[in-house]
């Protein structure tokens, strides 16, 4: 049993190493590409623009629910004036980066894994190689660079809309004074909190998009089945692995930041 456990741990470490090299190769390949701006714009549209509505919606509902839950907890201690602090810090430090990453994985990551898997099965990736085009730089590189731009922005959108959602339930519905709510938000959030959130969003972005792209790109090697089933398996594993890695990385980064 210990041997099996050891083997599994080693294979996870090996795979993480492969994913890191894959991501680095894609970033390096991107800067050797022609027409980088056009490719980057398309990738920003795919990851940033398309994910914006879902990130904004989830941000709003997260804020609304947090406003409700925290109000009824805080009111027991007569501390409902701290609602702004609780909502803002929870969102900026933890929930914003984590939930944004999970939403982007669900929306763009799974689509990316499927698309790359289909391109692999359809020999489009081989075709790029025969045309002397670096497939990593061409297909994955722009998406990784777009991630570095989009993830912090989407996280900021999530945080802001979430804090506004907390205001809607706390102040508009449950009559916490609006001035107190916003004052607590501005007073309690420090630059270090925002910085920590952005560090997380960058790490989560690179991790999740690398994992999703790696799974799709290597469908022929990694999936247990060929063809369509292989693609669906790659997409599923990409989402599961990315989500688990987001939570694991969140714990690690938080323990370093605190």
């Amino acid at each position: 049993m210990i041997r099996t456990l050891g083997r599994s741990a080693l294979s996870v470490v090996f795979e993480l190493g492969e994913i890191s090299l894959f991501g680095l190769g894609a970033l390096r390949g991107f800067f050797a590409q022609r027409g980088r701006l056009a490719k980057l714009t398309l990738a920003i549209h795919e990851i940033g623009v398309r994910c914006f509505p879902i990130v904004a919606t989830v941000g709003l509902f997260t804020g609304l629910v947090m406003g409700l839950q925290l109000y009824y907890t805080l009111v027991k201690f007569g501390a409902e004036s701290a609602l702004g602090t609780a909502v803002a810090l929870s969102l900026i430090r933890e929930l914003g980066p984590v939930l944004t990453a999970l939403m982007v994985v669900g929306q763009a990551g799974s689509a990316m894994a499927s698309e790359l898997g289909i391109q692999r099965n359809d020999e489009q990736i081989d075709a790029l190689q025969t045309m002397s085009i670096d497939p990593l730089g061409f297909l994955v590189g722009p998406r990784l660079v777009a991630t570095l731009i989009c993830f912090p922005i989407l996280t900021a959108v999530f945080d802001l809309i979430g804090i506004f959602g907390g205001y809607l339930t706390g102040s508009v519905l449950l009559n916490v004074d609006a001035g107190v709510y916003w004052n607590r938000v501005f007073e309690s959030v420090s630059w270090a909190d925002v910085q920590g959130g952005y560090i997380k969003s960058l790490v989560f972005g690179l991790l999740t998009i690398s994992i999703c792209a790696y799974r799709g790109f290597n469908t022929h090697r990694k999936a247990s089945f060929p063809g369509v089933r292989g693609v669906s398996e790659s997409a599923t594993r990409a989402v599961v692995w990315s989500s688990v890695m987001v939570l694991a990385a969140d714990y690690l980064i938080t323990s370093f930041l605190l």
């Binding site: 022609r34 027409g35 359809d122 075709a127 190689q129 025969t130 045309m131 002397s132 061409f138």
Partner: protein, 257 residues
Amino acid sequence: MDAFLKIRGLKKHFGDKRVLDGVDLDVAAASVTTIIGKSGIGKSVLLKCIANLLQPDAGTIQLDGQAIAQSRRRANSDAGVSFSYMFQNNALFDSLSTFDNVALPLREATKLGRADIQQRVSAMLQQLELSDAADRFPGELSGGMKKRVALGRALITKPQVVLFDEPTTGLDPERKYSVFEMIADYRERFGFTALLVSHDIPEVFEISDQVAWLDGGRIQFCGPPEALNSEAQTALSGFLSKANYGRKASAQFGGTQ
């Protein structure tokens, strides 16, 4: 025969399975060579080794007297490339128009300017009778048109060798003939060396200067299609008869069987 493409002792295995076990093959410049053999015998693997999509375990591939890696470096430095590959399923990019699919290797792998690319691609589309379909996407094209787009993309970089992996898969007999005619026609016009993998026996022999039979990991027969009849008593005859190479071929090449 002066070999333009020379393969010696090529070996490739996957796990315990030895797919290529010392393939030797000579291909003359501007000729059409067809590789035949049973399904799963390693024909596509051979093509992929030549195209550098698979790394052979042993053996050498020389193009015009130079090892293939050297030849690739030399080719990448100027406008042309050594090899192009036409895939079984065309491998066209669904999100790109016909024009963009054909222009892709020029845009991404050469330093040609926009005007030059526009001119070369337009000329190629005209030659392939695809000018009217320039703005259409692969999903909007017929099977034959997709083949022509794939051929255009393979030829746009002026390659010395074009590798065709079962170019007529999924096409009806009429379209098969037109694809073979197209390959023969464009080979004459563009002067490339063609290496085909095909199961369309004997139709493919009509355009072939040389036929190579791959079996047991090696080339067991290599010669002009006319010579196939004299090999009738060997193991090749069994394969050819199963591949429906009978009276039709005899009539075609004037042999007796």
